[in-house]
């Protein structure tokens, strides 16, 4: 066999006391698409950040074309022809610069012509975007004005500008619609034909199986196995990822559903949301599912008074609720666990205590003075109840892992005893154990008669937890499905703007999307 283009051997990396990688292995051949799979925190991003020079490995070595190389900065990696499309879009986009400048960002840091010709870079940028079939993006506008998906296309374009040996895609399709993803697949196919080695990371198993040549599964920072895609089967791969067969199904709901708790009619916000109506009953979990950018977060925020409405009414417990600000929503008995917990839900520099008591300070203060003991008592209570792993109630939240942070973001609302909980992607970035805990918690809330709205783009999870599912597409609710009716395929169809008749025909079409992916 020919020598691999790239080979990483016995890579180890620690962050403080956290071991991200240990003895990780990875090989890439010329002109192959090699997918890396693994649960959250398996070390995928860390591995490729080492490969692209962002981090340096503590141990192990990297060979390119058979020669050992050191990659001590992103620049060094680029000089070797290794380019990367990073997972977090906003860390890599400079929103103040134009699209063209963003696409050619790497070239500015390289040696070369001192003067920059605006015309030339615009042209270059246009031609790359054309290759991606994204001609609709105006290269002269500021990147700040792009949608998330467009930003992702810009980042992909950035990697295509250069004549790369290796291009790494770290979850590039997460913010893309199916249509856009397919454009990316064709580009990857072209790169492959040109002999570029592509590393492809994704949580969407079907696409991995569709486009990759080989699959490497990682678990707990180390290599589990590398498969030839043609020979691999999905269940096997999943088992390799999890270390056990998947049994995520929750018990079906056993308690009764009560009277209508939340009634929303004809709600619009003048921008994304158009004429939405929905109801939630006490004890019910209603899933709101849609692809990224469908407007789920906007809906959650709008219900919670975070963004102003242009029309529509919200009734809680049969009474009209005037919600102009989250404070009104809280008073009316709502709680929101926002999508971006670090940015919107938590005070990460503060202690667990301070976070936990915050939405309901009155309960933790005698007259005006804070009652520190009561705060501590409550903090310990939620630690126990949600099984939060932490040293003490006084540690700043930055020291907690993502899943535990998410639990605090939920736990802080419990003292309020709200009637209605809005969960916006509560399992995002959360490992499987924590996920199960969170599902159980949601179930508990429902059992005790609370209403829950569960916003998610993880369709299978929504199916698992919800009693009823509303599908969102482009700011509207396009379909309501009962738990029995809901299948991945149907939801996905409506969520990507498909219509009923069309859907029935396609249901058993060539692309099978019945597997559960985590």
């Amino acid at each position: 066999m020919v020598e691999p283009l790239l080979s990483m051997t016995a890579i180890g990396k620690k962050f403080g006391t956290v071991t991200a990688l240990q003895g990780a292995e990875f090989q890439l051949k010329k002109g192959e698409v090699h997918a890396i799979l693994g649960v959250n925190g398996a070390g995928k991003s860390t591995l490729i950040k080492i490969l692209s020079g962002v981090y340096q490995q503590d141990e192990g070595s990297i060979y390119l074309d058979g020669a050992a190389i050191r990659l001590d900065s992103p620049k060094a990696a680029k000089q070797q022809g290794i380019y990367c499309v990073y997972q977090e879009v906003d860390t890599a986009i400079v929103s103040e610069l134009t699209v063209a400048e963003n696409i050619l960002l790497d070239t500015f840091a390289e040696k070369g012509n001192l003067f920059v010709s605006r015309q030339r870079i615009n042209e270059q940028a246009r031609s790359v975007l054309h290759e991606l079939q994204a001609d609709n993006i105006n290269v002269q506008q500021k990147a700040a004005r792009l949608t998330l998906a467009e930003k992702q296309m810009v980042l992909i374009a950035r990697a295509l500008v250069h004549s790369a040996k290796i291009i790494i895609f770290d979850e590039p399709t997460a913010p893309l619609s199916i249509h856009e993803s397919e454009k990316l697949y064709t580009v990857i196919a072209k790169l492959k034909a040109q002999g570029v080695g592509c590393v492809f990371i994704s949580h969407r198993l079907p696409e991995v199986f569709e486009i990759s040549d080989r699959i490497t599964v990682m678990r707990e920072g180390t290599l589990v196995q590398t498969y030839d895609t043609a020979q691999a089967d999905q269940d096997g791969v999943i088992e390799a990822m999890l270390g056990a067969a998947l049994s995520h199904e929750l018990e079906p709901r056993a308690h009764d559903i009560g009277a209508a708790l939340l009634e929303v009619s004809n709600l619009s916000d003048g921008q994304k949301l158009k004429d939405l109506s929905l109801t939630v009953a006490a004890g019910e979990v209603v899933g709101i599912v849609g692809l990224v950018g469908a407007g789920k977060t906007e809906l959650a925020k709008a219900l919670f008074g975070g963004t102003p409405l242009t029309s529509g009414t919200i009734k809680l417990d049969g009474k009209n609720a005037k919600i102009k600000h989250p404070a009104d929503a809280i008073k009316a008995g709502m709680a929101l666990i926002p999508e971006e917990r670090r940015k919107e839900g938590l005070f990460v520099q503060e202690s667990l205590e301070a976070n936990a008591s915050f939405p309901n300070l009155k309960q933790f203060s005698k007259r005006l003075l804070m009652d520190r003991k009561a705060e501590k008592r409550y903090a310990n209570e939620i630690i126990e109840r949600l099984r939060i792993k932490t040293g003490s109630t006084e540690t700043p939240l930055v020291h907690l892992s993502g899943g535990n942070q998410q639990k605090v973001a939920i736990g802080k609302w419990i003292s309020l005893n709200s009637a209605l909980y809005l969960f916006d992607e509560p399992t995002k970035g959360v490992d499987i154990g924590a996920k199960v805990d969170i599902f159980k918690l949601i179930r508990q809330l429902a059992e005790s008669g609370k209403g829950c709205l569960y916003f998610s783009s993880e369709i299978h999870e929504a199916i698992g937890i919800s009693d009823r599912i509303l599908v969102m597409y482009n700011g509207q609710i396009v379909k309501e499905l009962s738990r029995q009716e809901a299948t991945q395929e149907r939801i996905l169809l409506y969520a990507s703007g498909g219509k009923e008749e069309l859907g029935e025909k396609q249901e058993f079409g060539e692309r099978k999307r019945d597997s559960v992916s985590i």
């Binding site: 962050f15 403080g16 006391t17 919670f304 975070g306 600000h325 989250p326 404070a327 929503a329 809280i330 008073k331 929101l336 926002p338 940015k343 919107e344 839900g345 938590l346 005070f347 990460v348 520099q349 503060e350 301070a354 008591s357 915050f358 939405p359 300070l361 009155k362 203060s365 005006l368 003075l369 804070m370 700043p396 930055v398 020291h399 802080k412």
Partner: protein, 337 residues
């Protein structure tokens, strides 16, 4: 877990951070005491406290705005305005004491309100908005007095002399003694204590800090960030006005531009205060402590007969040292995240 070597170093840093500032203060006091008998006396310390009282009030206002992650550069001008207004009310208009005290405070409230309007409603970043207000208020206060300082029975530009003068009762605020301490010191101590209690032990304080820590999360937890910011800037305006009133009473006349040189000093005090007791954030006791360190240092350096022009070097040096400790520590603390 193989971190025993690191943890010694880390503990040292933590210790330095928590008690470094206080140790420094004790060392300074000890050092100056050995140099001069006059230094460690009740009289000298009550003088030092009096000398920092005005800056401390100003700095408390800045502290509140920093707590909500803002910044008020206009406190100096606001203090100047309140200085001349309080003096003019007595000298030009012969007003009763209570009005002389209330009106400048209302002006402080007003300036704070305009600041927060610019910041919250228009959306100008705090630093820039208050910088503009610094200019505007400075111009206003000079225009109000037409560039004159205000003193008892001053001649008026319209001819004649001003009817009034600063009353004894008013001057007592700045120059009197009470229970063995100067009145300004009492005012300062009460305000420091009040700010400390409000910021560290009440619900409001919690809301202020959390808003500063993460405005978005605070909003989604039901806090009206606009109102909170508004309050902080109004409080800052009130403190600046109090400083102005105190200045007038201390000095016995309404000096023009009294506040301008104090603004930077107040900011310095707040920043030195960051590192006190490991707070790592703006806090009332730290602010007081910062003002005291600077005051004691300046007092001691004069005793040492250090040339006056070198003082700023020391002030800057102390600031750098305090900041370095704070931020090196912050890096350690959060790098693991």
């Amino acid at each position: 877990m193989g971190k025993n070597k690191n943890s010694v170093k880390e503990n040292a840093i933590q210790f330095l951070f928590k008690y470094g500032a206080i140790a420094l203060l004790i060392f300074i006091i000890f050092y100056f005491s050995t140099i001069s008998d006059a230094f460690f006396t009740y009289g000298n310390f009550s003088d030092i406290l009096r000398s920092i009282s005005i800056v401390t009030l100003l700095a408390l206002g800045v502290t509140f705005t920093l707590v909500v992650d803002g910044f008020d550069l206009s406190v100096g001008s606001t203090m100047s305005l309140s200085t001349v207004v309080s003096a003019s009310l007595m000298v030009w208009y012969d007003m009763p004491l209570w009005l002389v005290l209330i009106l400048p405070l209302l002006i402080g409230v007003f300036v704070g309100a305009v600041n927060s309007f610019l910041i919250v409603v228009i959306g100008i970043p705090d630093l820039l908005a208050t910088l503009s207000m610094m200019y505007i208020v400075a111009g206003l206060h000079r225009t109000y007095t037409e560039g004159y300082s205000i003193y008892n029975n001053m001649p008026l530009t319209s001819g004649g002399t001003a009817p009034g003068q600063l009353s004894e009762a008013f001057l007592w605020i700045g120059q009197g003694q009470m229970l063995g301490l100067p009145v300004p010191v009492w005012i300062m101590l009460v305000m420091v204590l009040a700010s400390y209690v409000v910021l560290n032990h009440t619900r409001w304080g919690r809301v202020l800090y959390m808003t500063g820590g993460n405005a978005e999360a605070a909003t989604l937890s039901g806090v009206s960030v606009k109102k909170v910011k508004f309050t902080a800037y109004v409080i800052s305006g009130i403190f600046a006005s109090m400083a102005g009133i105190l200045f007038t009473a201390r000095v016995g006349s309404g000096q023009i531009d009294a506040g301008a040189p104090l603004m930077m000093e107040a900011v310095a005090a707040v920043f030195v205060g960051y590192s006190v007791l490991g707070a790592g954030k703006p806090n009332a006791l730290g602010t007081f402590f910062g003002a005291a360190v600077i005051g004691i240092l300046l007092n001691g350096l004069t005793i040492l007969n250090l040339p006056y022009y070198a003082f700023d070097i020391i002030k800057g040096g102390v600031l750098v040292a305090a900041l370095a400790v704070t931020y090196v520590y912050a890096k350690k603390k959060f790098s693991k995240a």
